[in-house]
């Protein structure tokens, strides 16, 4: 979903486009900060995986997709959902487990999904999204549609077998699939390089004869350009493509993790390369005023504050809803 353009006669189209994506990044960051805070306060349950520092990838990839294109997400799915156009308030309600949540309160953070915008769901099992996305792409071809399917996979997850099976599958069946590897250098508490041989996911993907583009995933414009090209190729029948985006996770892995396993200084240093500030600097160079940038920040904060406020007010689902949507035949009946 291309972000809505802000009116501004003196700015180039490209500046407007990037400014729009910038606003989506801000929304994601505000959402993830709030989600974490609400977890700390006990209003969000289970675990929360933030994308702080990684926003550019989701935004630029989804920003080059149509609303009816499909994406398959992973455990770190808030950014993907917002970038694809999901409503942050419905998402926040889902994290709270409330009525009006994207999944009706049944899924929570790790299963956030919004099929109305082609977001086929976050996923708590690493790399499983690969084969699901390949299958969705196969359905697309079977139905004769021209949709593109995107799948997000973490660097650590690329050491799971389904990653390879699915790459081979996508290439053999020439599927309209964009694989996006968000390489943040860590898999939970483990430095991915310590458990990954050779040149890593990009080299391995290339061995399946899948075209690979590697980018600085914290450079919004670079990801945008690469995603635009790869999605165009796919839409034109070019078969599966692979985008390898280097990035860094500026928070702990999950929930209240403090990330103590990282070398001293790494964390602080990486803040200098994060996508929001870098994009902000570029926008300023293009003549976007400090006031406009400040307004974008405030708007994102305000939007998410509203989401949180609404989520707090929303009721919990009726217990009887627990028994719904298991299966048509043979589902459990509500005891009451």
């Amino acid at each position: 979903m291309p972000p809505a353009a802000t009116a501004g006669t003196e700015r180039s189209n490209q500046t407007e486009r990037i400014f729009g994506m910038f606003k989506t990044m801000l929304l994601i960051r505000a959402f993830d900060e709030a989600a974490h805070q609400m977890l700390v306060e006990g209003l969000v349950h289970g675990s929360v995986h933030q994308s702080i520092g990684q926003e550019a990838i989701a935004v630029a990839v989804c920003g080059n997709m149509r609303r009816d294109d499909l994406i398959q997400s992973n455990h770190r799915g808030h950014a993907h959902a917002i970038a694809k156009g999901a409503n942050p308030t419905a998402m926040m309600k889902e994290l709270f487990g409330r009525v009006g949540g994207t999944n009706g309160g049944k899924g929570g953070s790790m299963h956030i999904a919004d099929f109305s915008v082609g977001m086929l769901g976050a996923n708590g099992i690493l790399a499983d999204g690969m084969s699901l996305a390949a299958g969705a792409a196969q359905a697309v071809t079977l139905k004769g549609e021209d949709k593109v399917v995107g799948v997000f996979v973490g660097d650590g997850s690329t050491n799971r077998g389904p990653f390879y099976e699915s790459l081979n599958w996508a290439k053999v069946f020439h599927l309209p699939l964009l694989v996006v590897c968000e390489d943040n250098g860590y898999a939970s508490t483990t430095a991915t390089s310590s458990v990954t041989s050779g040149g890593g996911p990009a080299v391995r993907a290339a061995s399946f004869d899948i075209p690979v583009v590697s980018v600085d995933g914290n450079d919004l414009r670079a990801v945008d350009a690469a995603a635009a090209e790869l999605i165009e190729r796919i839409r034109n029948g070019g078969g599966p493509q692979f985008l390898h985006a280097a990035t860094y996770r500026l928070t702990g892995h999950v929930s209240k993790d403090q990330g103590m396993y990282r070398p001293a200084g790494e964390f602080e240093q990486r803040w200098d390369h994060e996508p929001v500030r870098r994009c902000e600097a570029w926008l300023a160079e293009q003549g976007v005023s400090p006031g406009d940038i400040e307004a974008a920040h405030s708007a994102a904060q305000a939007a998410i504050a509203t989401s949180v406020a609404e989520a707090k007010l929303a009721p919990f689902p009726a217990p009887s809803l627990a028994y719904a949507d298991v299966q048509d035949v043979g589902g459990p009946s509500c005891p009451k």
Binding site: S116, L120, A136, A139, W169, D325
Partner: protein
């Protein structure tokens, strides 16, 4: 009604559904070519009629056969993901349990998974430990899944058609030693066998035998022999293990007041335990004698024929147990 073998009946059922709905398709290893080989002919000639995009010869990638099936089902088609046997399906359990079974629920009903996960069960002569397993009870334990175990060619066809039309994931389990079994099969393409309804394979009044899959054949044989000894056994073919037809079983047990559940799988942790426990809970006061189960010893399936025979439950064991219950 025409007579045909089980493998031909299920193939006909699949072909009919593929003709009816062009979003029905199948994926699995050696689907296009297996008919020139030694397999069960479940897909013979289908690729000629439906082409390689609907009869998809897959790489050896069980996880992805199942996972792509799930993704394609979510995206609006009706795939039959054939893992060929439960033994190989072990390589795709995650995609079935963590994805197929949960997607509708955890996404709050936004998505449906009209997938048929096809995987044959059963001991086949000399197939040994890794090619003779029967784990139907596992999937009864997984919310979101429907579990189907047809025992006749007619049910193979009629239940496969119902499974394909079902909007939820169905685990469809043929028995390897039934593919050659003969029976009458309806030629009407709208003849469906409903999911969750048992079939009374033999009416009787002294004892209820609840069975499924190939064990139905043995139970019926045992019942004939029991009849010569003056014991009139009722044989219920469950057909579907989830949902299973408690109503039919309860009605029968209320009548006969005796229940025997023989299964091919290892006894411990098998589905016979679920049936026996459910009946013991609900009808404990009705029973004239304790519920009884039969099942394989808790050992892998051995290779040598005389050892394999130790693993197999036989009609003679059913007869002996039934007689001891009716004394």
């Amino acid at each position: 009604m025409p007579e045909m073998i089980y493998a031909d009946a299920v193939r006909e059922g699949l072909a009919e559904e593929m003709r009816r709905d062009k979003l029905v398709w199948a994926l699995g290893e050696d689907l296009s070519t297996a008919h020139t080989s030694t397999s069960a002919n479940q897909y013979k000639d289908l690729i000629e009629e439906f082409g390689p995009r609907r009869i998809v010869n897959a790489p050896i990638s069980e996880s992805t056969i199942m996972g792509a099936g799930v993704g394609a089902a979510v995206a609006g088609t009706r795939p039959i993901a054939d893992l060929r046997s439960i033994d190989f399906a072990m390589c795709a359990i995650d995609e079935l349990v963590n994805q197929a079974a949960k997607i509708r629920y955890m996404f709050g009903g936004q998505a449906r998974v009209p997938l048929v996960a096809r995987m044959a069960i059963g001991t086949r002569r000399g197939a040994a430990a890794q090619h003779s397993q029967s784990y139907e009870s596992w999937f009864v334990h997984i919310p979101g899944l429907i579990v189907v175990t047809p025992s006749t060619p007619a049910d193979g066809k009629g239940l496969l058609k119902s499974a394909i039309r079902c909007d939820d994931p169905v685990v469809f389990m043929e028995h390897k030693e039934l593919w050659g079994a003969k029976g009458e099969v309806s030629a009407d393409p709208e003849h469906l066998v409903p999911l969750g309804k048992a079939r009374i394979a033999r009416v009787g009044k002294d004892l209820t035998i609840v069975a499924w899959s190939r064990m139905v054949v043995l139970a019926c044989k045992a019942a004939e022999e029991l009849a010569t000894a003056g014991i009139d056994a009722e044989v219920i073919d469950l057909r579907t293990l989830w949902p299973w037809d408690q109503e039919a079983v309860f009605a029968s047990v209320r009548k006969t007041r005796r229940l025997l559940v023989p299964q091919e799988a290892v006894l411990a942790g098998g589905f016979a335990g679920e049936v026996a426990a459910t009946v013991a809970e609900a009808l404990g006061d009705v029973l004239k004698t304790s519920v009884r189960r039969l099942g394989a010893p808790r050992m892998p399936v051995p290779y040598a024929p005389p050892l394999e025979d130790e693993y197999r439950i036989t009609d003679r064991q059913i007869v002996a147990t039934a007689r001891s219950m009716c004394r």
